[in-house]
């Protein structure tokens, strides 16, 4: 097991593309990463001091929010979308279900200032950190000179979120020839590549496009169209990565499905036609019972147990 005090570096796993986020402008340091982790788990970033990033992003759920359809924010109010898992964010071109955040460093500003999430503001958080007994010293250690400002806050958080790399699942070890699949898992992988991989593209298991996967005939959430302003984006959402998918229930942008079986039911027979439905799903993805079992067995191999137990990413109380 890796010690909690070790500092991750962004290493590009074999066969992966170059990351989108460039750490050259924000070099990861031990003190910077530790500050980012501390901030991630500290409710000081919310208006009333009750909600931390880590409340809704739980490590055991690959930093998704287990059993919660949508995020629960300040004062117990509900958000409107399902908390996504956090991993391999350095490779993601835009963040959030609708791609509304265009840079990893800027992502925390959205939940911090959302009235139904952390309910505060970037300026308020910076002000609270400046007055805190410990943070000014931690910022100075992390960045080499005194000063607490929003850039340092956001860069420290990016040192934590950007180094959350999940690339050590059984699937990864299989691809590297270090571990064998059962015949059923092997069949599942073949089925996956045949029916799913055009959108959930390996090795990140997403092509990062925005698609309507037929949840509703009339979308209740306009999704990508709010950001792009284009009617053809009505009801489209970012294709989520399937890495750790067995750990990140519930599913879909609104968390409507609690199990992967329900998700496969939807793709088999539940696709709702609409003008923006993805053409690849027009006929659904019907599978035999045996094929379903094989696909589910394969999806289980995408769970990265080392990632969810990595103590470097866990809350510390130092």
């Amino acid at each position: 097991m890796i010690a909690a005090r070790a500092t991750p570096r962004l290493q590009v796993p074999q066969g992966w593309p170059a990351p989108r986020y460039d750490f050259a402008g924000n070099p990861v340091t031990a003190a910077g990463f530790a500050l980012g982790r501390r901030l991630f788990y500290d409710p000081i970033l919310s208006r009333d001091g009750n909600i931390a990033c880590g409340n809704c992003h739980q490590q055991f759920a690959a930093f998704a929010h287990l059993d919660h359809r949508v995020s629960h924010g300040i004062g117990g109010v509900n958000g409107k979308r399902n908390t996504p898992g956090l991993f391999n964010l350095a490779w993601q071109p835009d963040l959030m279900w609708d791609g509304s955040v265009h840079h990893l460093e800027m992502q925390p500003v959205a939940p911090m200032s959302n009235p139904v999430e952390m309910g505060g503001s970037l300026a308020l958080a910076v002000d609270k950190l400046r007055r805190d007994a410990r943070y000014p010293e931690l910022f100075a250690q992390a960045f080499g000179s005194p000063g607490v400002d929003s850039q340092r806050l956001l860069r420290a958080l990016a040192q934590f979120t950007g180094t959350l790399v999940s690339a050590d699942s059984r699937y990864d070890r299989y691809v590297q020839g270090r571990e064998a699949f059962t015949p059923q898992e092997r069949t599942g992988l073949d089925l996956f590549r045949q029916h799913c991989a055009s959108c959930h593209r390996e090795p990140l298991f997403s092509d990062f496009s925005y698609r309507n996967n037929g949840l509703d005939a009339a979308p209740r959430d306009a999704g990508r169209a709010v950001i792009s302003g284009r009617v053809q984006d009505q009801g489209r959402f970012r294709v989520p990565s399937l890495r750790n998918v067995a750990l990140t229930a519930p599913y879909m942008h609104d968390g409507r499905y609690e199990t992967l079986e329900q998700v496969l039911d939807h793709y088999a027979a539940g696709i709702q036609p609409s003008p923006t439905l993805d053409p690849l799903l027009a006929n659904g993805i019907p599978l035999t019972a045996e094929q379903r079992d094989a696909l589910l067995a394969f999806l289980d191999t995408l769970s990265d147990e080392n990632f969810i137990h990595d103590r470097r990413f866990a809350e510390t109380h130092d």
């Binding site: 800027m106 500003v109 959205a110 970037l122 850039q151 956001l154 302003g229």
Partner: protein, 265 residues
């Protein structure tokens, strides 16, 4: 304490300017900055926050808040070449946040400029796409200043908040936030000088810009508070963005001796 810090910071800035001037190959010795002063007006009268004004079509409006970014300044020389105002990737140098409520924000300097004859000035009302998507920034570009959209991340280029009895919004509010990512670039403004402006080692210039808010409503597009009391996304604010670029005019340019600039630093 704060005063002392400011003084130290200003001395550092002055030293930095001198250093830059020394590094600029081809620049004349002792190149001088150009000073820009901004006045917000309605027609010919100074804008007063909270006062009521009338549009050409008879609607009434008042302004309570007016803030916007100006950046990417460059000056055209008489021979058609350009002096590009330096901007650095790791500071907000060259990005100015103008705020009607903050007198200091309405006077700033660009350059230093090589000696020469200049015929016009160009700038963006807003932030260029590269910087807009470059992650966490400091100084005038600090997103904590509130000129940053979080629902679709990027800077608010131009912010006008006020009231109009014709507005159909709650409390008759007018709320125009213009910004945008890659799909809605910042508008560019070019202003020709009425007469060529000479910059020498001894004399710079002060450019006095008038920013006429009447033209926000009676510009290239006519803006009616009744039908458009609010604009908060790039698509809805496209026409107001066009109008924002038409607010600027040169009121006058006057000579600014080196001694006057030194006093300002």
């Amino acid at each position: 304490m704060k005063r002392k810090m400011n003084l130290a910071a200003r001395r550092l800035a002055a030293a930095w300017l001198l250093l830059l001037a020394g590094c600029d190959h081809g620049a004349a010795q002792g190149a001088l900055p150009l000073r820009i002063e901004i006045s917000h007006v309605v027609g010919d009268a100074p804008l007063q926050l909270g006062d009521s004004y009338k549009t050409a079509t008879g609607d009434a409006w008042s302004a309570e808040r007016l803030r916007y970014y100006l950046s990417n300044f460059r000056l055209r020389r008489a021979d058609g070449s350009w002096f590009v105002n330096p901007q650095s990737a790791d500071s907000s140098r060259g990005y100015f946040l103008v705020d009607e409520a903050d007198a200091a924000s309405k006077q700033f300097q660009i350059g230093p400029l090589p000696a020469g004859t200049y015929s016009g000035i160009e700038f963006l009302v807003g932030v260029d796409p590269a910087r807009n998507g470059a992650g966490a920034q400091t100084g005038t570009l600090d997103p904590a200043r509130g000129m940053f959209w979080t629902w679709n991340t990027g800077y608010i280029f131009f912010q006008f908040e006020g009231h109009s009895p014709q507005s159909t919004d709650a409390e008759h509010a007018l709320t125009y936030h213009i910004g945008g990512g890659t799909s809605a670039p910042a508008r560019s403004v070019f202003l020709q000088f009425q007469a060529p402006v000479e910059i020498t080692a001894e004399n710079s210039a002060e450019l006095h810009l008038h920013v006429d808010l009447a033209r926000l409503f009676d510009g290239a597009h006519v803006l009616h508070p009744a039908t458009q009391p609010t604009a908060m996304d790039p698509a809805a604010s496209a026409e107001i963005a066009d109008n924002s670029a038409g607010l600027f005019r040169i009121d006058h340019v006057h000579k600014l001796p080196k001694a006057g600039l030194a006093a300002a630093l």
